[in-house]
Amino acid sequence: EAGVAQSPRYKIIEKRQSVAFWCNPISGHATLYWYQQILGQGPKLLIQFQNNGVVDDSQLPKDRFSAERLKGVDSTLKIQPAKLEDSAVYLCASSSVGQRAKNIQYFGAGTRLSVL
């Protein structure tokens, strides 16, 4: 089966600009996650969707970050405006409902964002 697809792979922007990341999860996976991974650290969950509904966005900086998952498939994460501290790798992951009890997650390759 095809894995989790993310684009773009790399993005360089100036601070205060806007940026958007796209994710296409594994077909049939109801749960989708966006993580922020700062260099040298483990991934930090930003937002979790179950189908097209948000189940956890407690660590999403809502003044500048937004995410949507229309039709319960693809998802977009946006940052507006970006700050220097947003430089990180943004990872998308998905998991199937059947495995939710285990919650094994499948990750995309990520988008590396550099804010200058």
Binding site: G42, A101, F107, G108
Partner: protein, 114 residues
Amino acid sequence: SQQGEEDPQALSIQEGENATMNCSYKTSINNLQWYRQNSGRGLVHLILIRSNEREKHSGRLRVTLDTSKKSSSLLITASRAADTASYFCAWQRAGGTSYGKLTFGQGTILTVHP
């Protein structure tokens, strides 16, 4: 860290040697998982151990879990250069409304020299 820790932060060994990484967490858990991340790539699931299990094997991987000490260890036996990567533990908190959320440790960078 308020969530947990992994140690060592970095580990350098020769091919054929064993590598041991440790993880500590601070909450009650349903399960604990280990993931590998190669440079510039996403994370790949390696192994899961449930809270009522004490040890689990998968190929050259051995995971132990001590819920009384809130700690886990990952042992990679007979390491290969291809095992060079960052290794992360992640735990699923028990109870509440976590919706299966995983919390990740800080990771251990493993370098295996040919």
